[in-house]
Symmetry: C2
Subunit: 334 residues, 2 copies
């Protein structure tokens, strides 16, 4: 008895900003699960900036998305049928089978979630990949010490907003940049010490210098570009730059100019390090333990922007690049 599922496929590779025409929605009939397989109905799927990189046809740390096939990404859903003894109908699972309403897969390809009393979609946000990205990069590369000043760009997004709050928990002074007054107000409401709206700031360097008059010890970079140049300028000696993403240039059609002040890396002895969340998988247990506690204690909060229906997933994805999301961008699928 087949199960109907709609999915979003990559129709053509975006050049510059992704557009509706690069995607198509298709319906498929899923077979019944075979031995060792399960059928899952997704409740939520995630759209994340890193997905833009997989839309290029180029070698990278993960293979590019294939044309004509369903996209992939984080999703949370419920087991409907199981041919594996470790799963029962009703189990909450996390998988990389996002961008579709339902799927059949080997049981080993999904992770059973302990429902720790938080909303299911939190496993795509603060308790999922974005939260783990924030937690692992900030601690492992940032090596924060109480009293230090942390600058976070893209702080209105899922990763950035979480970094800001972890930094406060670690006793740091936090300066955050985001693209709207609504986002900066929310960031201040969760304890961020000073904020910059980079869209209205005019001179970004001056704005960050005023927000962080003593300079910065840690820069958590989600955007690259002009923010990175400013961070090099205001960095204190021995600053650590956590290079998590460069959303400002993901859609660039020409190679964007790099920071004109790279020589500060030598003189200020800056350590600049890129990472991918899977590099720090050894921190997973500690992450879950700390983050679950912080969420329950109300020390980590989050915002969500929710789109409804798999057919609106591309639009939700575009929001990431236009600043249309506050906090975690999600698509509700049931």
């Amino acid at each position: 008895m087949a199960t109907r599922s709609r999915e979003v496929r990559l129709k053509s590779r975006p050049v510059g900003m992704p557009m509706a025409e690069n995607f198509e929605v298709a319906a498929v009939d899923l077979p019944d699960p075979g031995p060792g397989e399960i059928l899952v109905r997704n409740s939520w799927m995630s759209v994340d900036p890193y997905m833009r990189g997989r839309m290029y046809d180029r070698p990278s740390y993960v293979p590019p998305f294939a044309l004509g096939e369903a996209l992939q990404g984080g999703a949370v859903g419920t087991v409907v049928k199981s041919n594996d003894p470790k799963f029962s109908p009703g189990d909450l699972v996390e998988s990389m089978f996002g961008w579709r309403e339902a799927f059949v897969a080997p049981a080993a390809a999904v992770t059973k979630l302990q429902n720790a009393g938080v909303p299911a979609q939190a496993y795509l946000g603060v308790l999922g990949m974005p939260g783990m990205t924030a937690y692992s990069g900030f601690h492992r590369i940032g090596e924060p010490k109480a009293g230090e000043t942390v600058f976070v760009s893209g702080a209105g997004g899922a990763v950035g907003a979480t970094v800001c709050q972890i930094a406060k928990i670690r006793g740091c002074t936090v300066v955050a940049s985001a693209g709207s007054d609504q986002k900066t107000a929310w960031l201040r409401s969760v304890g961020v010490d000073a904020t910059v709206n980079y869209k209205t700031a005019g001179n970004l360097l001056k704005a960050v210098q005023e927000a962080a008059p003593k300079g910065i010890d840690i820069y958590f970079d989600n955007v690259g570009g002009a923010h990175l140049e400013v961070a090099l300028e205001v960095a204190r000696p021995f600053a650590r730059f956590i290079e998590c993403g460069m959303i400002s240039i993901y859609n660039a059609t020409e190679p964007p100019p790099g920071p004109r002040n790279m020589s500060y890396i030598v003189g200020k002895r800056i350590r600049m390090q890129g990472f991918i969340v899977i590099d720090y998988i050894d921190m997973r247990e500690q992450f879950y333990a700390d983050m679950t506690q912080w969420v329950k204690e109300g020390r980590i909060k989050w915002e969500e922007t929710i789109a409804n229906g798999v057919e609106n997933a591309p639009k939700a994805f575009f929001n990431l690049f236009t600043g249309g999301n506050s906090g975690k961008m999600l698509v509700k699928l049931d």
Copy 2:
């Protein structure tokens, strides 16, 4: 009884490439050393690229050179008179009182050298600051493993040439870039696996890709600019970039464009770290022990380019930026 000494002073701050008119030679009469002081006659002085940074009037890790005063830098000389029990006439000493023929200073401001059977000027080269820079940066930031590929820019200079040979001792494959066929031939003669003459290579990226077909694991950066962009392009995942200097931009009068491919830092998880040799002073004993042995065993060789007389020190300094030196650039003072 006064001692006559000629010295080179900074007359005006260079704009762009330093020129003769930025310097002046003056003669001074040194007083007899007071209690706890010594009189030293310099035999050799060093000119180094980092000195260009101190000619700007800007905050940095060391204060700028003052106009109208003698410049400073590494020097090796012999004690002539001593009013300190720890020093006797004839002792070989190293100091930062370069750019002058003789000086009087507190005994604590100089270091007595154990003459280990190497030429005195080696203490300004492989056994001095450049050698220690190569040794500490390569090991501490590079974390080399046998079998890895190391790319060294500015390899014709004192630091770069030493890095190449240490990397060979550590079992690495070494690719080096320098600015003349004479320099690249010398580098190959001491074991460098492949070389690029960046002045005649045409397409630098292509030349480095051919020299390092499997990519690079470590980049020791002495030059910045185009070389840094190329290194980002050919870097393998988890590459380490040792940011020692950026001589290509020290004389820039406009902010130079940065690398257009900075996003590789994220995707390739590159660690890029600046340093100053004094940060790693804890490695000094190990450096002296290893390097002295390597020099005696003939495993570390060096070239010297020698200018004669303190009045020619500015010209020797200019050579660093025009490629006029092979290996360590020295000025002989006696």
